[in-house]
């Protein structure tokens, strides 16, 4: 029980974020269907965001928003790092845009080839 108390929270999130990246990469490499590959990509995206947020955590910190609970004078001892939060916040919206572009490519490929299995899309293979 003692080791569990001293075990940092961000380490758990960091480990599971890395495992999620590996899972998404495994899905992207082994699946043969284009939409399944895109699902793997979106899993990898979530894993990377988890890793980035967990790096910015400070032990016992609270959210970097100043109000009655966190006063301005003692804020620098209480809050977590705001910079990784700002980066991840934009990265999530970008991830949605990238996923939409990839899916529209998949729809376009289906329109011309009538299939989405990448084994059959061979004419541009090198």
């Amino acid at each position: 029980m003692n080791t569990l108390i001293n075990f940092p929270i961000s380490l758990i999130v960091l480990c599971s974020g890395f495992i999620l990246i590996l899972l998404g990469l495994w899905g992207m490499l082994t699946q043969r269907h284009l939409i399944r590959i895109i699902i793997g990509f979106s899993l990898m995206d979530t894993g990377i965001h988890m890793v980035m947020v967990s790096i910015g955590y400070v032990t016992g910190g609270t959210a970097p928003i100043i109000n009655n609970a966190v006063l301005m004078s003692e804020a620098s001892n209480l809050v977590v790092d705001p910079v990784p939060s700002a980066l991840v916040l934009t990265a999530i919206v970008i991830g949605l845009g990238v996923t939409a572009v990839m899916l529209s490519f998949a729809v376009r490929i289906y329109k011309t080839h009538k299939t989405l299995m990448i084994d059959k899309l061979t004419e541009s293979k090198w």
Binding site: D81, G97, A100
Partner: protein
Amino acid sequence: MIKRIFIFMMLGLMAIIFFNLVANYTENTSLSKLAQYYVENGPQEIGAANLVTAVVVTYRGLDTLGEVTVLFISAAGVGLLLRRKKGKQNNNQQQNKSVKEVANIHKSSSEIVETATELLLPMIILFGVYVFLNGHLSPGGGFQGGAIIASGTMFLLLALPESHISRLLIAITESLSGFSYVIIGVLGMVMAGGFLDNRFISSGTYGNLFSAGAIPLIYTFIGLKVGFELSAVLDRFRKEINNEEDDPV
């Protein structure tokens, strides 16, 4: 078979890299120097209670401009990829089938969903506006508010799949808000410290709704832009589904 072995070798190598990163990890106990500066000087300089907003809008404002640009390019890419060909000819058989398909697809929603749309859609839009107007006081901001507004559009498309969304309105709002965003940035360069500096409007009482200089204005434009762009993406996908051989707009 050999391909599978390669895949597992590559995953194993990446796992070794990640394991080394995890093994040397210790949780931070104090802020880094940059974050220390932001936390100590941010509230006085910028006037925003939410420090993430201060970083996103002002300290790292140029990154946000690039991010909005990337989102615009991806929306334009979706529009380009899913456009309909006008002079496409198709034989009789296909046309018959597609007419039947369209009749199949347009299954209207039930009474409950349609009534709930009238009740809930204004609340969702209002909540989106609340989120991006209060971005400097509470969690939230332009990106979240825009995503909530796009969710409202998605609700409308789910309940009434036939509804018409004006593409002209989307284009005008999107370009106007992007233009105003850049104009505000340039105004900050002329009248205050630098590009996207928010202090050319007097920052009122700390903690009020209309405080923190130009941040509510900037977040309003970002929210409108993001919301309408994501709505345009959803509309493109919907159009692509519903009619292949209908008359073009």
